[in-house]
């Protein structure tokens, strides 16, 4: 991807990925899921997970799995709130950029679609 992914967007993507797994998910799977959406280096995810854990957006717990402990992550209440905030910000941001790209004449068609998407988030 030619567009860089900032820290906030990365946090939002990871939160979204983890929130989809109600039973929690683990490092390797999170990385694979995130890489399904954006192209990032594998070493980027650990600091993000640690940061989200420190901010109490994610909680970690160990589950025994084949004779070893596998660390699972799941989203917290704070994390859900934060993710909602990120989603709203993203809708706002992406709508503006889309409008700018598509120009005046197509804005009205697009507005309808994004309007309903915004409602769904709320």
């Amino acid at each position: 991807m030619v567009f860089g992914v900032g820290a906030a967007l990365l946090d939002a993507i990871v939160l979204a990925v983890v929130s989809k797994e109600t039973d929690g998910t683990y490092g390797y799977r999170i990385t694979q899921d995130v890489r399904g959406a954006i192209d990032i280096s594998e070493s980027t995810l650990y600091p993000v997970l640690r940061r989200l854990q420190k901010n109490r957006c994610l909680e970690a717990y160990d589950v025994e799995c084949g004779g070893r402990n596998r660390r699972y992550y799941r989203i917290t209440q704070d994390g859900v709130l934060k993710l909602d905030e990120y989603k709203k910000e993203w809708m706002d941001y992406s709508t503006k950029i889309t409008h700018l790209f598509l120009g005046e004449e197509q804005r009205h068609e697009q507005a309808g679609f994004y309007g309903t998407a915004k409602e769904a988030v709320r």
Binding site: Y28, S41, Y46, P47, N69, R70
Partner: protein
């Protein structure tokens, strides 16, 4: 690079962060390799690029803005250490070279000191021999004078005989005193001197040994 090498290098690179953070990070990557399976090991190592890069990503997050300053300070400290070591090696080489270059001087000095020591020993021995000879002369001459005095006083010259005998007794007494003094010197003074020398040598050697122990 194998997974084990990768993890070992990562552990070494993280030895300057708090141990709980290090353990968490190492656990994460151990789990990561386990979950990916052995068939993906090489691919993951390639995509992680290097333990240095992984360690940097962890530390950047831990130290935040201070990371660059921290790494810079660490590098500087390491360079200073290397410089210090180099200086130490250079100094040692210099000392050895100086010792070799100055060898005529210190060999001469040591030789000179040894000469002085041998000379002193010779002088002491000479003085000792002279003293023994003196004492022996006093004893012998004393005995002879007593003999002469005795014969003189028995055969007509009692006055001269008594004087000669008196001188003889005096010399004999001095000789006996000399023998006593020599006995004292040989019995007390020489053992004391030898003991002193032995102690001196021992303390010199022990100093050398202590220095060895410090290294």
């Amino acid at each position: 690079m194998s997974r084990q090498d990768f993890m070992e290098q990562l552990k070494r690179l993280l030895d300057d962060i708090p141990s709980n953070e290090r353990q968490d990070a190492l656990n994460y990557y151990e789990n990561y390799f386990e979950d990916a399976g052995p068939e993906n090991e090489a691919k993951i190592i390639e995509e992680l690029e290097s333990p240095e890069k992984v360690a940097a990503s962890i530390k950047k997050d831990l130290f935040g803005e201070n990371y660059e300053a921290y790494e810079f300070a660490k590098k500087q400290r390491e360079q200073e250490k290397i410089k210090e070591n180099n200086a130490k090696v250079q100094r040692n080489i210099l000392i050895v070279v100086l010792l070799i270059v100055a060898s005529p001087i210190w060999i001469g000095l040591v030789g000179g000191l040894f000469g002085v020591f041998v000379g002193l020993l010779g002088a002491i021995l000479g003085i000792g021999a002279a003293l023994i000879a003196c004492v022996a002369v006093f004893l012998v001459v004393g005995c002879i004078l007593i003999g002469i005095g005795l014969t003189k006083s028995l055969f007509g010259f009692p006055a001269i005989g008594l004087i000669v005998m008196g001188i003889g007794i005096l010399m004999l007494t001095l000789g006996i005193l000399g023998v006593l003094a020599l006995c004292w010197i040989i019995g007390k003074f020489i053992p004391w001197m030898i003991l002193g020398l032995v102690n001196l040598c021992r303390s010199l050697f022990q100093k050398g040994r202590k220095k060895e122990a410090y290294r």
